[in-house]
Subunit: 269 residues, 2 copies
Amino acid sequence: MKIYRTEEEALQYYDSGKYITPDGYTSDIAVFTLLPNEEPFHNGKSRSAYSLALMLIKRAGIDSDGQPNIEGNKWALPGGFIQRDETAYEAAQRELKEETGVEGIEVKHFGVYDKYGRDKRGWILSNAHYAIVPETYLEKRMASDDAAEVRLFTLDEVFQLELAFDHHVIIKDAVRAVERDVLQTTVVKYFLPKEFKMEELRQVLLAFVDDPVVKNKPGFFRKAPTLPFITEALDHNNEPKKTEPNADTRRPSKLYCFKDVDVTPSIWR
Amino acid sequence: MKIYRTEEEALQYYDSGKYITPDGYTSDIAVFTLLPNEEPFHNGKSRSAYSLALMLIKRAGIDSDGQPNIEGNKWALPGGFIQRDETAYEAAQRELKEETGVEGIEVKHFGVYDKYGRDKRGWILSNAHYAIVPETYLEKRMASDDAAEVRLFTLDEVFQLELAFDHHVIIKDAVRAVERDVLQTTVVKYFLPKEFKMEELRQVLLAFVDDPVVKNKPGFFRKAPTLPFITEALDHNNEPKKTEPNADTRRPSKLYCFKDVDVTPSIWR
DNA sequence: ACAATAGTGTCTGTGAGACAGTATGTC
DNA sequence: GACATACTGTCTCACAGACACTATTGT
């Protein structure tokens, strides 16, 4: 029984107690929302109707003992230590609820940040998640909190802030992950109400993608309802639901919703 | 300075020393390769030319102290503890090299497994990676090792084995990750030599996807060369490279290679 | 000449893309 | 009726999908 693999493994377990273990295991959450742009037309050029925004918290400068706080006075992603009776994913959900009061929202793991030195307190691992939360939820919560400590920033603003730890990198990756998922999955639904107008969907997509199919309104209106994961919202009489007209949108429009069909787009098509 | 967030955070750091920390931080690697099927025609039905196979190691039954080994005598993914001067990703690469002697190969993180109870030794975290290694590399290495301790299994075989820890789940996720990436990225290139024949590419793809575009040979031969990430292999005279004919393939065929263009397929196209 | 794989010609239908036009409501 | 937004008709062009056909070599 003196085979290479075996010895190596045996050694590993023998040393196991002495093995260096991490000093902390945390979850961080990049909470995204869409902010409507007041002025869709700016300098004669059209801007998209929404901008992606991120929720950050400001770390305290002084801790409860009166000592200077680590990475104090910097903006940071919400997050915290993972308890042993939960997974990183569950911790992210718990912390999201603690921070924003929101439950049952899309939370997605997108990366691990474990480079020694990223946190001066020691070898602290972070599991990074992103969450998508409708703006209304966040407004409510942030109003009840001290406004100076929790804020929404547009992405442009975020990257001009001094951020704690390696959150600058994490946020860059988070944005890429969201953008990717908007193209490849139906996450976009979390930016929308359960039942939405086609034009709403198009406007939300335009905040992310620059695709002729989406840009072209007639094309999109024709194509989108045929997609396997989108379906008309039907009322109890199996009639298509429509919006109530108002001063802005005179003609009522059909409502649509997402079906739970998972699609995997292919580069080989 | 007695704001909710601040207190909570301060508390966190105060408790930091007492916080439960993980008992171990590991990387596991699902090493995939393609095995050619000897008999492409089976029971009158055509099978794909390749099958996806996975490398597993057999854990020793007894450790170096003569004690029964944890999860001993079971097949498991190669992997091990992460050192503090490396990231999970680097550890995976190091361990892959130790196991197979292969360097500079695609290694990709696809998941975190951190549920308490997954390892009886304590709260042991695992970062799961997959790697794609040409069969030839593995054959060499496995021949030099004890054949009973390192083996390739087809996926059907894998799921009939008794596997250590939660590796059954990890492997299922790994297969899904590879299948997804074959559709959405150009990972498939790691199953192929740097320069390959169109038909080789098609056969490899057929091991994963069931798409009319790929199935249809003329269609694929016409379409693939136009894809932005595939280009003809050119020799020093800028002439398309061709294979040397032999008894099997009489007519020489053009060689192609992958370009480093990253594409993001979209569900909205 | 024949076998074997590489690769192209050609036809048909579907669907993207663009823009003009029609529909349905409020004021 | 004017207007604003929702939606459809229609034309063109390109390409997917299918299958037959030609091309290039070794034996």
